[in-house]
Symmetry: C2
Subunit: 94 residues, 2 copies
């Protein structure tokens, strides 16, 4: 039921789950700058640490723990963790 | 740097990380009631869904998303996810 995902040689890892039709993952972004492309739209909520992200070609912005950003379907974002690994909740909206 | 952990035949899975000397995991509790014993004290924050937990022999209590509970060192807690898998952030305090 739960699914472990590993990206970029393990620098980003997550656990996928589903509840009441909501598909989501919790994960950690480690070292390096990475790009993720979206199929469904998604909401990324930072639960520990701080992310720096560039969403859909906009300017880079900081997202500290407790904040969130949304990414449109069929789009993408660049992301890196600031000051050490950061944990997130990713909820698929579409 | 990141470490995938799997417990109870994959019913509970987490990703471990460390930042500024803080050891933490994010994970998901799936089906079933499980017991975790602590070495260091820890704070469990529910980030998605709802947990039911019995901490150190006290009564069972509900912890919906946004709430947290702490578990003493050399103690333990019983836990289950209510209404589907629940995601958590576990921070080691000791």
């Amino acid at each position: 039921m739960l699914k472990h995902n590993s990206y970029f040689d393990g620098a980003v890892q997550s656990i996928g789950f589903e509840r009441n039709g909501l598909r989501a993952t919790v994960g950690v972004i480690g070292a390096g700058e990475h790009r993720f492309n979206t199929a469904a739209a998604e909401r990324m909520t930072v639960v520990s640490g701080c992310l720096r992200a560039r969403i859909g070609g906009q300017d880079w912005a900081l997202f500290p723990a407790g904040t969130a950003f949304e990414v449109a379907a069929n789009s993408g974002f660049d992301v890196l963790a600031v000051g050490g690994p950061a944990a997130y909740l990713c909820e698929f909206l579409g």
